[in-house]
């Protein structure tokens, strides 16, 4: 559960199960720089792009698990981990990493468990990002 006042985004904190608001999502430095340099809309477009891309990757991940296709599971989770970390969704990135690491063992029940947890973190990140986007649009 989130702990008020703890703003650590590090994976060791995530691994301990101490989910924080920042680990669910925070606006990372690279996006803050884009925002500071130009139009707010660009960051909002990137957030929309990330949410749509990740949602479609979850579909491909589920499909690959159903087909017992470990290579695709590894490739999709690797890509999701990278974009989640770049976009500041640390908890989601951590769970994608768990999927990526577990994929070669083809332990399908464990993989499905990790993907279920990752989807929960994605829902939380999406909620936090949508809240931010609403606030920015309202301010603009």
């Amino acid at each position: 559960m989130p702990e008020a006042g703890d703003d650590s985004g590090r994976f060791d904190i995530i691994a301990s199960g101490r989910w924080t608001r920042k680990t669910m999502w925070h606006l990372p430095e690279s996006l803050r720089e884009i925002e500071a340099a130009g139009d707010d809309c660009i960051v909002l477009e990137l957030i929309d792009c990330f949410l749509a891309d990740t949602a479609s990757r979850f579909e491909r991940l589920r499909d690959a698990i159903a087909r017992r296709d470990a290579a695709t599971v590894k490739a999709e989770s690797h890509s999701m981990r990278g974009s989640a970390r770049q976009m500041g969704a640390e908890a989601l990135a951590y769970l994608c990493q768990e999927v990526e690491i577990s994929a070669p063992q083809s332990n399908w029940p464990e993989l499905e468990g990790h993907v279920n947890q990752a989807e929960v973190r994605f829902t939380e990140a999406r909620s936090a990002m949508s809240e931010y986007a609403r606030a920015r649009r309202h301010a603009g």
Partner: protein, 156 residues
Amino acid sequence: MRILIADDNLIFQSVLRIMLTQWGYDVVVASDGDEAWRMMKDAEASRLAILDWMMPGLDGVEVCRRVRATRPSTDTYILILTAKTHSQDLVAAVEAGADDYVTKPFNSAELRARLRTGCRILDLECRLLLTGQPLVPVLPVDRSLAVRNSIAQVAI
């Protein structure tokens, strides 16, 4: 300066394209390794390239290896962008001919500084070519040292 971004991940493509454009680069994008290799084979190819390591088709390190095998080593500055963080990965990328290596998620200030270094080295190499002075062969992987040594000889 024109720069090639090769990454199959839409998020990295978009963030890089926006940031590099803000920094004044002219950006072209490839969505996989095969497309990147096609673009880099072209005589008018970008001299500065950011290649993701893990891409569909050819991976970034293989693209790098092919570029080095077919074009003068001073022609293109290649930066590998990857989530791989082990030192043996860095060594493998550099041995394949990469000039630099940045890990994902990238820090924008670090990436900007490394690209400036790439531009500076390409500029120095271009100026050396105009003097007709060949690059002094030193350690094959230490490109910046080779450039500095050649410049020192020109100065003498």
